[in-house]
C-alpha cells in the first residue's frame, strides 16, 4: 500500500500538475500584487507585500544563484540537509567539502539532473526551470567523451545539445580550438588523445555556449601543471567577462588562488559560508611569526614557552637568529613586543592568517568532535 502511495505522489511530480499549480499561483500572485499596488498607490506608505517583494528581488538581483533549504534523500541516506546558499554574481564561489559531503548532489540539483525533495533553487532571480539549462555550463568530476567519435563532431554535438545552432557552434569551436592550440585535433578520435588533451576539449564544450553560470567540479584533476595554468587563466578571463563561477574542489591551494567566496559542506550540511577574506579574519587567532636577533635565543625561548604557546621555533647559533611562531593571549600586542624588543632586535613580525586548508580541517574536525 505504501508503494502505491509513493507511485501516485511521484507521478504528480513528474506530470504537469506542479507546473500548472505554480502557474496558477503565479498568475494569482501577479494580480493580487498589482491590485495591492493600485490600492496603496494613493497612500504615501508602501508596505508589507511590496517591500518584501523588493527585498526579495534585491537578494536575487545580487546573486546569480540562491538555494533555499534544499534537502535531498537517497532512500535512507540524507545527501543534503537544509542547504541554503547565496552565490553572488560575477564571482568565483568555492564549494568545498570532504568526499561524499554532498557537493556533487547539490551541483546536480543546480543542473536539474536530480530534483530536491524539499526547498527551492532560484537562478538569476527566477525559480530554476528547464530553460535555464542553456545558461549553465557544467564540467562534472566524472567526465569523459565518446571514444570512437571524432573530436570536432562530438564537440559540435554537445554544443548543439546546449542549444547553439550548428553554424554558430562551429564558429565558436574554431575560435576556441585556435585559442587553446588544438586546431589540428578536429578529425582525431578521443582514443588517440591523452587524458589532458581530452580535458581541454571538455573545458571548451563547457564554456562554449557562454553561460551566465559555470560550474567546475574538480576542474584541474588530470591536467599537468602547464595546462592547469592555462585553464586557470581562462577561468579568470571568463570571470572578468562577467561570468559567475562555482568551483567545487577539495584541493585547497586552488581555492586560495581563485575563490572570493566559499561554502563548506560537511556531512550533507553547510557548516560555513561567506567571503573568504572575512572567514579568514574570523579564524585568525593572534598567531604571529617573529624573527629576531638575540644573543641567547634558547634561554629566551625557554622563558617564553613557559607563558605562551610557541611553535615552529628555530635558533641559529652562528647567525644568532631566532625564528618562532607564537600565539598572543589577546589582540593587544604592544606590551609583549616591547618586552621582546628589550631582549633583542626584532627583524620580522607577521600575523599568520590561517590558510583555507587549515580552516577546512579545523571546521570539519570541530564539527566531528561536537557530534
Amino acid at each position: 500500500m505504501r508503494y502505491i502511495d509513493f507511485v501516485n505522489i511521484n507521478f504528480l511530480f513528474h506530470s504537469n500538475f506542479f507546473p500548472i499549480l505554480e502557474f496558477i499561483l503565479r498568475v494569482g500572485f501577479f494580480f493580487s500584487a498589482n491590485s495591492l499596488k493600485l490600492l496603496t498607490k494613493n497612500h504615501k506608505k508602501e508596505y508589507g507585500l511590496k517591500q518584501l517583494y523588493i527585498f526579495g528581488k534585491k537578494a536575487y538581483m545580487n546573486n546569480i544563484l540562491v538555494t533555499k533549504e534544499v534537502t535531498k534523500h537517497f532512500g535512507k541516506h540524507i545527501a543534503l540537509h537544509n542547504v541554503s546558499l547565496e552565490i553572488p554574481r560575477n564571482s568565483i564561489y568555492g564549494l568545498l567539502g570532504p568526499n561524499g559531503a554532498g557537493k556533487t548532489t547539490l551541483i546536480r540539483i543546480i543542473n536539474q539532473i536530480t530534483h530536491p525533495d524539499k526547498g527551492s533553487v532560484f537562478f538569476d532571480g527566477e525559480k530554476l526551470k528547464a530553460e535555464h539549462i542553456a545558461q549553465i555550463g557544467y564540467l562534472p568530476e566524472e567526465r569523459g567523451l565518446y571514444k570512437s567519435m571524432k573530436v570536432g563532431e562530438q564537440a559540435l554535438y554537445l554544443a548543439q545539445l546546449k542549444g547553439l545552432s550548428k553554424s554558430e557552434a562551429k564558429k565558436r569551436l574554431k575560435f576556441w580550438f585556435e585559442r587553446l592550440e588544438i586546431g589540428n585535433w578536429w578529425d582525431k578520435k578521443i582514443q588517440e588523445l591523452s587524458k589532458g588533451m581530452a580535458q581541454k576539449i571538455q573545458f571548451i564544450v563547457t564554456v562554449l555556449h557562454e553561460p551566465k553560470l559555470l560550474i567546475f567540479d574538480e576542474p584541474f584533476s588530470g591536467f599537468d601543471p602547464i595546462n592547469a595554468n592555462i585553464i586557470k587563466d581562462e577561468i579568470l578571463k571568463l570571470k572578468e567577462k562577467g561570468t559567475s563561477i562555482i568551483f567545487s574542489t577539495h584541493r585547497m591551494e586552488s581555492v586560495e588562488e581563485l575563490c572570493e567566496y566559499i561554502a563548506l559542506i560537511h556531512k550533507s550540511q553547510k557548516i560555513l559560508d561567506g567571503k573568504l577574506s572575512d572567514i579568514k579574519k574570523a579564524y585568525k587567532n593572534n598567531v604571529y611569526k617573529i624573527g629576531m636577533q638575540v644573543l641567547n635565543g634558547e634561554a629566551l625561548l625557554g622563558e617564553l614557552s613557559g607563558k605562551f604557546k610557541i611553535s615552529a621555533s628555530d635558533y641559529n647559533t652562528v647567525e644568532q637568529q631566532l625564528d618562532f611562531t607564537m600565539q598572543f593571549p589577546g589582540k593587544e600586542t604592544g606590551e609583549i613586543l616591547s618586552y621582546l624588543a628589550s631582549k633583542g632586535n626584532i627583524n620580522s613580525f607577521v600575523e599568520t592568517i590561517p590558510s583555507a586548508n587549515e580552516i577546512f580541517i579545523k571546521t570539519v574536525q570541530s564539527k566531528n568532535n561536537n557530534e
Partner: protein, 442 residues
C-alpha cells in the same frame, strides 16, 4: 524535440558507421545464403551417392522384389557360398550384403536372412529392405488365407482425408501449419530484433557510462530524452540493417538459384515426389490452387498492420528494459543476471507459439499467452494469420491484448526511465535487485 532529433541522429550515425556493424550488415546475408547453398549442395552430393547392395539369394521365395531405386541398386550374386560373397562384397566396396538362405518356408527364410555390412548400416536402406520383406510376408500370409497376388496389389491404397470449413470452403491439410509458420516467422522476427537491437541499446548505454560522458550530456538534456533518443536511433539503424539484409539476401538467393541451379532441381524433385504420393485425390494442380487460394486468403493487410503495432510496442517495452539494465551496471559482463529474466518470456513465447499455437491456435494456452503483455507480440502474431472474428482471433482478445500491451508499455517505460535516471550516475559495484527497487524511490 530538436534535442531528441539530435540524439537520434547521433545514435544512428554512430551505429551505422561502426565497423563491426557495417561488416555484419554485408557479411551476414552472404554467410546465410552461402550456408544455404552449401547445405543444398552437400545434400545433393549425399543423395547422389547410391548405395550398392550385393544380394545373395538362395531362396525361391524372392526373385525380383529387390528393384533398383533412386538411392539403391542391387548386384545379384549367384552360385557362390556366403563366405565368398562376403569377401567379394568387401573387395568391391559395396554398402553391404543381403543374404537370403534357402529354407522350406518363407517364415524360416525371413527369420534367417541377414544383412552384412562393414560399418553400421544406413537406416533408410535398412527400412527399405525391411519393407520388401514385410510386403512379401504379408502377401504370403494373405495367399494362405486365399487372397491372390493380383488381389493383393489391388488392395494397395493411398488415402488422405478431404477437409473443408462449415461454409463449404475447401481446406487443404497442413494449411493451419503454413499459416502458423507465417505468423511464427513474424513473431520470430520480433524476437530476433528485440534480442539483437535491445542488446545494442544496452551496450550503447554502458558505453556512455564507462566513457563518463553521461553526466555532460544529461546536464543538457533530460535522461528520458536521452534514453528515448538512444532507443529510437538504434532501432532505425537496426531497421536499416534488416532492410539491407532482406534486399541483399534475396538478391544473393536469386543469383545462387540462377547460377547454381541447385534449388530448382531440388524443388522439382520435391514436386514429383508429392505428385506420386498424392495421385489418389484431387490432382496436384487442384491442390496447389487451393494452397494458393488459402495463402491469398490470409489477411495480409491486417497481419502486417498488427505486426507493426505489436512490433513497435513489444520492441519499445523490451528495449527500455535493456536500457535500464545498461544503466544499472558498469560493464557488459554484469548484465547476464539481469538479461535472463527478459529473455525468458521471449523464449517462452516462441516455444509456446511453436508447440501450442501450431496444434491449436485458439486453445486456452494460446489465448492466455497472446493476451499476456510480455509474450503477446509474438504469440498473437502466430494466431493472426487465421484472421480476426469468425474462425480467427476474437476481436475482444485482440483489443484486450493491445490495451494491456499499451498499459504495460507506459508502466515499463516509466519504471525503466526511473532506473535509468538513477543508474547512469551510479558507478562502482553491481547493484542487487533490491537496490534497483530502491532507486525507484529516489
Amino acid at each position: 524535440m530538436n534535442k531528441l532529433f539530435l540524439i537520434i541522429k547521433r545514435e544512428y550515425i554512430a551505429k551505422v558507421r561502426n565497423k563491426s556493424f557495417v561488416v555484419m550488415t554485408f557479411l551476414s546475408p552472404i554467410l546465410m545464403v552461402g550456408m544455404g547453398v552449401l547445405i543444398a549442395y552437400l545434400t545433393k552430393i549425399n543423395d547422389n551417392e547410391k548405395s550398392i547392395v550385393a544380394l545373395l539369394n538362395e531362396s525361391d521365395y524372392f526373385s525380383n522384389e529387390f528393384l533398383t531405386t533412386e538411392g539403391t541398386s542391387f548386384i545379384h550374386f549367384n552360385e557362390i557360398n556366403l563366405e565368398a560373397a562376403k569377401d567379394s562384397t568387401l573387395k568391391m566396396g559395396y554398402s553391404g550384403l543381403l543374404y537370403i538362405p534357402k529354407e522350406s518356408n518363407l517364415e524360416q527364410v525371413v527369420a534367417r536372412s541377414f544383412f552384412y555390412s562393414e560399418k553400421s548400416p544406413n537406416t533408410s536402406l535398412i527400412s527399405r529392405l525391411e519393407l520388401v520383406f514385410r510386403d512379401r510376408l504379408r502377401e504370403k500370409r494373405l495367399q494362405n488365407l486365399g487372397v491372390s497376388t493380383k488381389d493383393f496389389s489391388a488392395l494397395k491404397v493411398n488415402y488422405a482425408i478431404n477437409t473443408a470449413t462449415f461454409n463449404g470452403k475447401q481446406n487443404v491439410k497442413g494449411i493451419n501449419e503454413i499459416k502458423a509458420v507465417i505468423g511464427g516467422a513474424f513473431g520470430y522476427l520480433i524476437m530476433m530484433f528485440i534480442i539483437i537491437y535491445g542488446g545494442f541499446v544496452m551496450r550503447s548505454v554502458i558505453e556512455e557510462k564507462t566513457s563518463r560522458i553521461i553526466e555532460i550530456i544529461i546536464s543538457s538534456v533530460k535522461p528520458f530524452q536521452l534514453m528515448l533518443g538512444k532507443i529510437l536511433g538504434t532501432s532505425l539503424a537496426g531497421i536499416t540493417q534488416f532492410i539491407i539484409w532482406i534486399l541483399l539476401g534475396s538478391l544473393l538467393m536469386l543469383i545462387a538459384l540462377f547460377f547454381l541451379d541447385i534449388e530448382f532441381s531440388a524443388l522439382q524433385n520435391g514436386a514429383e515426389l508429392a505428385a506420386s504420393i498424392n495421385t489418389a485425390i484431387p490432382t496436384v494442380d487442384q491442390t496447389m490452387q487451393v494452397y494458393a487460394q488459402e495463402l491469398l486468403d490470409i489477411p495480409w493487410f491486417t497481419l502486417i498492420s498488427f505486426f507493426i503495432i505489436y512490433f513497435l510496442l513489444g520492441y519499445l517495452i523490451y528495449s527500455s528494459i535493456y536500457a535500464a539494465i545498461g544503466a544499472a551496471v558498469d560493464n557488459e559482463t554484469d548484465t547476464q543476471q539481469f538479461i535472463f529474466p527478459i529473455i525468458l518470456p521471449l523464449m517462452l513465447a516462441i516455444y509456446v507459439g511453436f508447440f501450442s499455437v501450431f496444434s491449436n491456435p485458439h486453445g486456452p494456452i494460446a489465448v492466455g499467452f497472446s493476451i499476456f503483455p510480455l509474450t503477446s507480440p509474438i504469440v498473437m502474431l502466430m494466431r493472426l494469420p487465421s484472421g480476426i472474428g469468425e474462425g480467427g482471433v476474437p476481436l475482444w482478445q485482440l483489443l484486450t491484448s493491445i490495451l494491456l500491451l499499451i498499459i504495460t508499455f507506459i508502466g515499463i517505460v516509466w519504471l525503466a526511465s526511473k532506473i535509468y535516471r538513477v543508474g547512469i550516475l551510479m558507478y562502482g559495484k553491481k547493484p542487487t535487485y533490491k537496490e534497483i527497487f530502491n532507486w525507484l524511490k529516489y
